[in-house]
Every structure is written in C-alpha cells, then in structure tokens.
Subunit: 526 residues, 2 copies
C-alpha cells in the first residue's frame, strides 16, 4: 500500500536541502565536463536520450534524489495508477491515458469493461473510418474525396493534436504520407473559425468535433459556426462531421455526425492525444499506421517510466531534477527550447500539460501545501529564441532552468551548404553552443559582456522528429509531470481552477452582474 | 541635465516599500470595485484605454509611483532620448525608433543627416516600390504579378512584422486591402524554409531579406537556401529579392536585389517594426496607406508617453506598476493575454521586446544592480489559454500579474448566435469574468474548489484590432519597456547576452572545440 505524503515531510527532502550546491560552471569546464556529458545520460525510447550533464547535480545530489524517489514511492504510485487505482481523487476517477498505447500492468476493468480493449476498439474504429475516407469509400455528397480535416476543440482537444500534427506534417510530406491537410479551430473568437474556413474548401472538408462532455461552450459555438457555413454553402453538415466524445455525452449517438469515436472520464483532456482525440485527426491526416507508430513510441517510453531506478528512468529523473530546481534551488520558471521548427507548438502543449496539472496549492487531501508547486513553462523553437528572449536567460537577474531538444537530422530533406556547413549543422552547433554558454558563461573585463554562467539545462537528443520519437517525447513529459505531481502530493488530473471563470462568464452573458463585473462588461460592450 | 540612478537609491522607492499593500480582492468587491473600474482608466491612442482597476494599487501607491517617476526623471529621460542623446551607452548609439513614426522633439541630426527625413524617405521609397508592384509595374520576369511576399529575417526582423501581419491579415481581407499574402522564414532549421517554399508559388513571390548588419548567419543561410530554390526553378534570384539593411552593410548596393531600403544603427531590431523592417513587407502586403495608419496610431501613443503625469500617460503608468509588482511585490513573471485571435503572435513579439531589452544584471555604467530587473513574459490568446495554463494562474502557488487585452468587435465580420449570445460576446464576457475571478477569487468549503483571488491584472480595451489600434498597442509596450529600463537604470537597447552563443557556435562549426562542447557536438552529429 502506498502512502501519500507531502514533499516536505520526507527525510530525503530535508537531506537534499542540506547538500552542497553544485556549480554547473565548475563541473562543466574542462575534461570533467566532457565526462559528465558521457556519464549523465539516460536512454529514452525511439533512440532518444536524456542528457542532464549541465544540470546542477552530482552523484551526491542524484543519490539523494533516488532516496526521495524511493521514500515518495514514485514507482509504486505509478504502478497503482496503471493498475487502475482512483488516482484522480478530486473527481474520483482512474487515470488511464497510458492504456491507450499499451498495458503496463494487469487488466484494468472499470464500469464492467476491459479498458485496454475499449481504447483499442476506439482506435481501430477511427482507423477504419480513416482508411475508408482515404480509399474514397466515404466522400462528400458529390462523391468527391475529402482533402482537409479540421479539428474543432479547445485546450487538450486542440494543443496536443495540433502540436503533433505540425511536428509530423513535413515529415509526412517528405515520406508521401500526408493523406489530408489538417486545420484547427479552437478560440471562441469568431475570427479564428472565420480565418480557417476562408482558407479551405469546405465542400471537401471533414470536421472533427471534440468535446468529452459534449458541453464545452467554445467548441459547441464553433460547431454551430461551421454548420452555418456548411449550410450556407448548400452542404449537409451531418455529412461533413464526426464527433469524438464520451459515450454518455449528448453528442454520442446524434445523427448530426457521420460517426462518433469515444474516450471516457479516465482520459484527461491534456493527456488525450493518445486517445481518439488525437487518433481521429492524426489517422485521417497521416494514415492510421503513422498514428500507431506514434503510440508505439509513447508505449516504449512508458515502459522506461516504470523502472524504479531514476538513473534508468529518464521521465522520473527529469521530474526529480525539476523538483530539486523548484523547491531547493528556488527557480520559478522553466523554458522549453526545441531546436526543431517542427516542434514549434510543442512548448504550448507542454505549457498546458504541466501548468494545468501541477499549478495547484492544495494536496490530494485538500490541505494547503507549504511549498511551491508547478513552475511557469514557456518556450519557442531555437534558433528563433536566441534572437529574442535568450538575452534574459543569459544575463537576466533570475536563473531559468532550460530544457533543450536537438535532432541530428531535419525532416524535409532539403538543405543548403553555406560557409562550409549546412543549415542542419548550424542548428545543432547552436544548441551545443548555447548549453555551454549557459553553463560556463564567460568573464569579460566589460561587465556588460560578462556571462555569469551557472544556468542549468538538460537536452533530449534524437535522430529526427518522426512518429516514434514524437510519441516518446510526449510520453516523457506526461510521465515527468505525473511524477512531479506525486512528489508534490497533488492531484495532477483535475482542473478546478478553470471553473470560476466559466461561472462568471455565464453571469455576464445573462446580464446578471453588478459591481466591477458589470462595469467591465459595459466597457467591453456586452 | 538628467541623472541616471539606480532604482534602490531613490527616496520614492524606499517609501513605496513601506506603503501598506493593497488587497485586490477587497478593493474590487462591491460598489468600490465598480468605481475603481471607472476611475482607474487612462485613455490611450486610437480609442484604446488602459484600465488598471484590478492592479494592487490605490491612490497612495499611485502617488508614490508618481513621485518615483519624477525622482527618476522619466519624462526628462524620454525627452533626451527623442531629442537624440546617446541613450544606448553600450554601443554608443542614439535610440530613434519613435522618429520613424513622428517627431516629438527637436530635429535630430546625426552623421550630418536629419534623421526624421531619412526615415521618411525610406518609408516613402518602400511605399513607392510597393505601389509599383501592386500596379504591375514591377513583376516577375514572365511579366506576371507578384502574389506573395516572404520576409527572411530573425528576431526583431521576424517577430514584430510577423505579429503585425497576422494581426491585420483578416482585417485586410475583410476590408479588401490584402494586396499580397505574406510568409516568414526565420529559423536556421532548414525545415522552416523548406516548409514555406513548398507552400507558395516561388515564381510569383518576392523575398524581403532583412538584416541590419548584413551578416546575420541564419538570415544569410536562408537567403542562400531561397536563392538555390529560385535558381532550381529557372528563376533569376536578383529579380525576386529586395533587401532591408543599413547603408553600410554589404547588402546595401548589391546587384543581387531589385531594391534596397535602409534603417540604421539607431533602430534596434526589436524596435524596428516602425522602420522599413516592418514597412517593406507590410506595405507590400496591405498597401502603404495601411502601414501609414499603423504608424499614426503609434505616433499618437508616443505623444501620450511624453506626458509627465503618469495618470495621463498609460505607457509610463503601466511601466511603474510593473516595476512595483516586480521589485516590491516580488512577482517574477508576467502573462500577456490578448482576447483576440488576431494577436496570436503578439505575445511572442512582446517576449522579445521586454526580455531582450531588460533582461540584464548590470546598469548603464556596468555596475551590478542589487535588484531584480525584467520579468519573464509569456502568453497565448484567450480563450485558448483558459483551457490551458490558467489553472496555474488561478490556483498555483505563485502569483503571476496579468496583462489582458480585449476588443468589442471582431475583424472578419462573421459570427454565430448560440444560446442567446454571439461568439464575440462570449469572448468579451470571458475576459471580464476572468479579471474578476482572478481579482476576487471565491471561497468554497472544498479547498480544491477555492480561489484565493488577489491576482492582479490590467486590461487594454479597444473597439477593434485595426492598423491604428495595433500601432498604439505596439508603441505602448515599446514605451513601457523603455520606462522600465529607465527605472531599473539599464541600457535597454543593446543585447550583449546573445554574443557568447554565437562565438561558441562558430567554434563548433570550425571543429575547434574540446571538453563538454566537443562531447555535445559529437552527440549531435556535427
């Protein structure tokens, strides 16, 4: 039986606080630095590796982190989770997103159903549907092939699938696997839907309406917007729309949709890319095989996450180091910096995944915790960020831990050789250079040109952004966030913090307001 | 004569620290809240207003902030700047981006040239060029009209112009002002250029190469990439490319370009959208009149920034409140949250503007400051953010000050009425609701459903995102960042923090490395 304790109740945490802090600048200089790069690396799935040489850790800190992992029973808690315990205590739900891509433990039976079988059946149903669309068996009413798929969803129904689509779009083009182009409508701002609809041929577009509850206001609003547009064009909306929802939602058995695919309450929105929330659109865009390869990469990473030794478990190790940085070193923010244009929206997905999961002040039992929890997460792709906010990262007054990603190969197979090196080589040279600049800094007699260094970073290195490595990346961060939730003793799987705004917005729309809320509403012309 | 002092040397700062902290939750409740919304508002240019009712200020704090502004001589320092003093002390340069859009003070003569006339001449040259392209006087070699304009630039040559283009694209479509579609290539990752080039008809595309120095590695690399592609397509690159650069750069008089337009060393990259860095592409995309309207909005805002009373100067007031939050209240991060899909990349521009300007640890004289400076800036458009990271903003352990923007009208003129309200009304209702949810929170017997409130925010409210209001918004933040730089006694106009990475990257590409840098390079396959 596991026990759920606060981080600051553990002996290991107190011990950690007392350990001498590591100077990244000292450790990363000279031959010792090279040895750290070799030694402080853990294999991940799909040929990736997690390298933490430039983090503020040494063997003593790592040993204490391993003790913390043991004392906090991280592995046992993960085991409980994947064996079907009610880990989401607030909403009294299981947490089963990993089960969409593999089965780590015993059969999970809930509501009388084998859940692995249920998720697999839904994946296959979406795959079959996609195959029929690709074969021309499902067409528009004029018998023409659908060329575009548009996801209508917000939050987890948007950010993850969108980041994944963008990450694989050029890879798919290059490998002749782009079956349909994908677009996304998320914002309730009508300009979002208007802009997407103007850019596509709606008569050849298939819309995927994604809402677990079937009640998400933004999504239903955008659905109506799209249906109006289809009707205006003389098209039957029911022949252009599928639903991804829960079996109990009002959308589940509606004749308004060509088909419906299901997730359930055990898949949180921000963890839903592996379910048919990601599966429907990605199978339509790239073909079901590509989506399966993505799931396989994620499943391989999940297996690593089940290992008890953090030095063999990149997800747990990343989590432990992050908590060390947040709660012992006191850094409030983390930057995510993929050196890959394909990952341009991956930071936005991680922002939701991390901040919505662990941006909480009370523990699983509703008691206020006495330590800080989830950090602010932000980021943009390198090298763009280098010409933007890196100034602050290098010379600002706060230290921001950095999470780099780098890949040896690009996707599109086009490159240019300039000044003796390719663009891809320049990209990789830059990420290597940045790690060292952040770590070691550089003294200069002009203080304005001095770099203090000691800015810790890790890097995930891979061969290429492809379905397998992307799946592994996604799972890595999901698992990292889960382990951090365990360490902070939070329920990482609810999001009560989004409710109050919804209630007040309804009051505004019902003109049932007074005081400042009415004053703001007046100013905004509502 | 102004004197440049550190923030913590002023009497007003010490006084501020001693003033009783304001409870936003208390102040914003009931009738007092409504009065604050009315009272704590300053007009901005182009019909915008800056409302700071939900900030942690009261009349006492505001009076002390006004004293600080006076003691720090903010107005006098701005006066020095726009009259042509060497404000960028590190690089010994004037700071003249405001002069691109208007003249607040006396004539600025530098290098024997009236700088206002110089910038105006460049704007007009780019405008004439754009008009000739639109009239079909400048075409491709086959005599066909150019339909697409592609900016090749990075950092300030990318983020600002891109954010502005995206902000006005749908407005321009709706108003029949979209003359050419625009695209952007920035990242040295070859997949960025490959993806853009695959999505356009290069034979009808005009490329704008933007590099002040003419030596930016990413930009030159992407230029070669594009030129190769043009040559492969049997096109003459020199007939498809214009340059925006400084008169002293190697690109200035090259026959490789159809035309060249100039900025100079007195326009920093992140402040260059008002120069022909923004002017060339925006005039080509929307027509020169739209770009002029944008400049006029910015110029109007600059005039407000010259006012001495912070209560009449929204840019200075925003700056003062931000410094109060950073240095007295101790908040390390600020979120930028535009409730407008059009402003989807505006936060990325502000991230550069703010973090690259004020992410510094030494003052203008090279002395280390004893206080924190520029915060981390991040953000996404609402309502998307509500379904993502807002959980942490509401219930996380850290308080993150918020900068909202909201507009009464959308751009595309399409909307849908659902459940008794339009999408636009829902959008506006949400931002009003969020402000109040953050300010006042809500007690609940379930601690997991409790909101502590007291999370300060401001909002800029306007009628619509259009050229004038967008210009005003841009200038507002430029001026805010400038005033904050004055308050922190920083040089906000250099970026020495980006240099070390460049040097190390060159060493990697020359295979002139050892230690950890070599080890990383090996792992990345360079």
């Amino acid at each position: 039986m596991v026990s759920w304790n606060n981080l600051d109740q553990t002996a290991a945490f107190k011990k950690l606080a007392g350990i001498k802090k590591v100077s990244v600048a000292e450790k990363m200089a000279g031959e010792e630095g090279a040895q750290r790069v070799e030694k402080y690396s853990v294999p991940m799935a799909a040929g990736l590796s997690f390298n933490y040489a430039a983090k503020a850790v040494d063997d003593e800190v790592l040993a204490a982190l391993a003790e913390l992992a043991k004392e906090m029973q991280l592995t046992e808690k993960f085991e409980e989770l994947y064996n079907g315990a009610v880990i989401n205590t607030g909403e009294k739900r299981l947490v089963l997103h990993q089960l969409c891509r593999g089965q780590l433990g015993k059969d999970v039976i809930a509501d009388g159903v084998n859940k692995r079988e249920f998720y697999e059946a839904q994946r296959k149903a979406a795959a079959d549907f996609a195959n029929r669309v690709h074969k021309g068996e499902i067409t528009n009413e004029a018998g023409e092939a659908f060329t575009t798929v548009v996801q209508i969803g917000i939050g987890g129904s948007d950010l993850g699938p969108r980041a994944i689509y963008l990450a694989l779009e050029n890879w798919a083009k290059q490998n002749d696997m782009l079956k349909m182009q994908a677009r996304f409508i998320s914002n309730v701002d009508p300009d979002d839907a208007a802009s997407v609809l103007k850019s596509i041929d709606v008569s050849k577009s298939l819309f995927v309406l994604v809402s677990k509850s079937g009640t998400t206001l933004e999504t239903l609003t955008n659905e109506t917007f799209v249906k109006n547009k289809l009707a205006e064009a003389g098209l039957n909306p029911a022949k252009h729309m599928i639903a991804v929802t829960s079996e109990t939602s009002p959308l589940a058995s509606s004749s308004d949709y060509l088909a419906a695919f299901f997730m359930d309450d055990y898949i949180g929105g921000r963890y839903s890319s592996s379910s048919c929330v990601g599966g429907a659109i990605l199978s339509l865009a790239f073909g079901p095989e590509v989506f399966e390869r993505f799931l396989n990469g994620a499943a391989e990473e999940d297996k690593l996450a089940a290992k008890a030794d953090p030095l063999e478990n990149p997800d747990m190790l990343d989590a432990l180091i992050g908590v060390y940085e947040r709660n012992i070193l006191g850094y409030p923010t983390t930057a995510v910096l993929p050196y890959s244009q394909a990952l341009s929206r991956f930071p936005a997905h991680l922002q939701q995944l991390d901040m919505e999961s662990n941006g909480k002040s009370v523990n699983r039992f509703g008691d206020k915790v006495d330590y800080v929890t989830g950090p602010v997460i932000f980021g943009e792709p390198g090298t763009n960020g280098q010409h933007s906010f890196y100034q602050l990262l290098h010379q600002g007054t706060d230290i921001i831990p950095l999470q780099f990603m780098g890949f040896r190969e690009n996707q599109a197979g086009m490159d240019a050789d300039i000044q003796g090196s390719t663009s891809q080589q320049k990209l990789c040279a830059n990420v290597a250079a940045q790690i060292m600049a952040f770590a070691c800094g550089k003294a200069d007699e002009n203080p304005n040109k001095s770099f203090a260094g000691n800015r810790p970073s890790s890097i995930i290195i891979g061969q290429q952004v492809n379905p397998e490595s992307l799946g592994a990346l996604l799972a890595h961060f999901e698992n990292k966030v889960m382990f951090q939730g365990f360490l902070w003793n939070l329920n990482s799987f609810d999001q009560e913090g989004v409710q109050l705004g919804k209630i007040l917005a309804k009051r505004v729309l019902a003109h049932n307001t007074d005081g400042a809320l009415k004053a703001y509403s007046d100013l905004l012309g509502i």
